[in-house]
């Protein structure tokens, strides 16, 4: 086929990804977005102008050679696309599904200036999925160095760190507190957005290929402390995430029917509560559900609620998202918000809860809210929501799910006094290297940044892995500070 001119490329429309029909998907937990077909992927790849100085790469936290892999997709050489991808990103099937591409690579794509950017995320996904099926690229491991590294937490940061460190020939033990690896990929993000077969496929492939020892049920801080790990290992990476939920300080938060998004999503995803009683862990859903917050976790909780209502035969129930700011400030990925609206989630913007009411048995019966309006910009640069006096109103609800962000779980810091933390409880670590204030301890991901994205955690895991390897190879000064 003759090469297209840039003009011709720009005439190709951005290829839509087929999705499950909104009415049908309300009643199942199957994946919503079905992935580009081969021909659509090739057409989408044709749209890339192959910029000599690609801006998209600047937007990628792990510096994937985006034009490179897209060119390989265009010429039908998926094996080459995988090779290019995996030099920077070991989990493309996951990133292709959960990265907020519209604020990263795709936001900087030159095509976006006049029209729509190249669908980089969709192309990444097709490459990742192809490799999950075909397994063309074995992960190669350098000869053994005899050095031992403990990676605490098997979420995005820990996984990538473990893979990168193991590839350098170091002996890696991956410690996970739950019974399944994956962290938020497993307990948090629902099946319909990120199938667990994809998560387990990526993880199992990596740990088998690289001989990583996975220890589940290992709650660090309890079964072993950080100090004990340092006795046994040459280096320790902390990728323990931000798992501690927050509730609002309002009356009624301990009523039956009030829960954290973490509890709700763990019951649904980790414990497969949507399959109760096939699986033993139940998950209760009311007819009138309200999710407080508007991040990705809130969207996940709301969309799980819709599905559970359908499956439990409460299909005429309502699911609300209550958010104190306006639509403009919603932090969730645009696609998640669109999908939630299509599925029937009702958004109550500029609304804030002030009290949860219950009956004599201690069950939730309603939530008192107050209307908000936007005032002057706050520290985050967003306009600060302020209550409208006298605007209180009651919502009849029976289930309240708090999705207000999370902070690091302090359990891992037991007897780890030399590890400095911020006043938000996050670990203080060098952004470039992941080094903490404790010798031979690195950290990255949400435990350092607070709740952020999967791919930024992966980027931190990768940078720390490079520094750990340089340290173990003796290329670096042992530790610049006195904390040894």
């Amino acid at each position: 086929m003759a090469e297209l001119t840039n003009k011709e490329r720009m005439r190709i429309p951005r290829q839509d990804m087929p999705v499950q029909d909104a009415a049908a998907r309300r009643a199942n937990f199957d994946e919503v977005a079905l992935g580009l077909e081969t021909e659509a992927a090739r057409l989408e790849a044709e749209r890339c102008l192959q910029c000599s100085r690609p801006r998209c790469v600047e937007g990628c936290p792990v510096d994937v050679d985006i034009p490179g892999f897209i060119e390989a997709v265009r010429t039908g050489n998926l094996s080459e696309a995988v090779r290019i991808m995996k030099t920077r990103n070991s989990l493309p099937a996951i990133c292709g599904r959960v990265c907020p591409q519209e604020t990263q690579c795709e936001q900087l794509c030159i095509l976006g200036k006049k029209g729509e950017p190249v669908a980089i995320g969709r192309l990444e996904r097709i490459v990742g999925d192809w490799e999950l099926r075909e397994r063309t690229q074995a992960l190669e491991k350098a000869p053994s160095t005899g050095k031992r590294v403990a990676v605490v937490g098997s979420g995005p940061a820990g996984l990538v760190c473990a893979v990168d460190v193991a590839r350098q020939g170091h002996d890696v033990t991956l410690l996970e507190s739950l019974h399944l690896p994956g962290g938020v990929l497993t307990y948090g993000i629902p099946e319909f957005r990120l199938p667990k077969s994809v998560v387990m496929g990526e993880i199992n492939h990596a740990i088998e290929n690289l001989g990583i020892r996975l220890c589940v049920d290992h709650v660090i801080g309890r079964i072993a402390t950080l100090a004990e790990l340092l006795d046994e290992y040459d280096a320790v990476f902390l990728g323990t995430g931000a798992g501690l939920p927050s509730f609002m300080d309002i009356p009624g938060v301990n009523l039956n029917g009030v829960m954290s998004a973490n509890e709700f999503l763990s019951r649904v995803n980790l414990m497969r509560g949507y399959d109760f009683p096939q699986y033993d862990t139940p998950v209760k859903i009311g007819e009138r559900v309200v999710v407080i917050g508007a991040g990705n976790v809130a969207m996940d909780a709301a969309r799980c609620s819709i599905r559970l209502q359908e499956l439990h035969g409460n299909g005429r129930g309502e699911v609300h998202i209550v958010y104190r700011r306006s639509r403009e400030e919603v932090p969730a990925r645009a696609e998640e918000v669109d999908h939630a609206e299509e599925e029937g989630v009702i958004f109550d913007f500029l609304t804030n809860p002030v009290e949860i009411m219950g009956d004599e048995a201690g069950k939730v019966t309603g939530m008192r809210c107050i209307r908000m309006q936007l005032g002057e910009p706050d520290d985050s640069g967003r306009r600060r929501p302020v209550p409208v006096e006298g605007s209180e109103f009651d919502l009849p609800v029976d289930t309240v799910i708090f999705a207000l962000g999370t902070s690091p779980n302090p359990l891992v810091f037991v007897e780890a006094e030399s590890l400095s933390r911020s006043r938000w409880g996050t670990v203080i670590a060098d952004e470039e290297t992941g080094r903490t204030t404790t010798a031979r301890v690195w950290a990255g991901g949400d435990v350092v940044t607070g709740a952020a994205t999967v791919v930024s955690a992966m980027g931190a895991g990768r940078r720390a892995a490079a520094d750990i390897h340089a340290f173990l190879a003796g290329e670096l000064e042992p530790w610049s500070d006195s904390e040894t």
């Binding site: 589940v216 079964i223 501690l244 939920p245 763990s266 980790l270 009683p277 862990t281």
Partner: protein, 287 residues
Amino acid sequence: MYEILHKERLNPTCHLMVVAAPGVARKARAGQFVIVRTDEYGERIPLTIADFDRDKGTITIILQEVGKSTMEMGTLRVGDGLATFAGPLGHPTEVQQYGTVACVGGGVGIAPLFPITRALKEAGNEVVSIIGARSSDLLFWEERMESVSNRLIVCTDDGSRGRQGVVTEPLTELLEERPGQIARVWAIGPAIMMKFASLATRPYKVPTIVSLNTIMVDGTGMCGGCRCLLEDGARFVCVDGPEFDGHKVDWDNLLSRQQFYREEEQQAVERWQHRCQLDEAVARGGS
């Protein structure tokens, strides 16, 4: 998998299991708990540690059949494995030399009370223990408790063993008999028993430690399903507890939260019992 090395039936609904879990045993201390799961389909259940042997690398748990998950776990045999055995979780009991202490156990609560009582005795305390159950066939570990107590009072609701009555009666008498001498009370058992034990000691201003058993998912501070209300706000039982000052606990909130999944539990039990009956019928060669 964590192998079940020994199993015995303590009473019609309670089983004792000794489980191989060297990592947990190495760190386990009185007052802590483990999260246990039977198989891939199972719930994560919090169970208090009833004993541990660091040399043998074992943990002893006592399982009371209250729902489908615990009933199913009760069918496991020696040599079978548990899919999950995570711990030791929660804060251990604060063991010091307090002087004279009372250890009060009700029903299955006697199991977690035992290692605490032993630790308190070893720390040089004079220990008065009070254990109770509905009837003699439900009572277990009387001898074990006796071996770690200076004095042991046994009671049953129906009088079939020891004195007739509930544990709060001898507890109140003890506080009356020895005013100002009981430094601390541990009360472990069903929530309702802990509530009344706390009410009994309150007028005497004796610090009373209870071990709360709430609904949990992860057991590591992640879900918050276990939260209980104290006078000064909510706490997570899994990471802030499981032991709390019984005088500060909002017992009615605790009791109501324990009931939240009752309907689903009932549904799961019925479904499971139905399946067991079918299995039996098939095994008998019936239709």
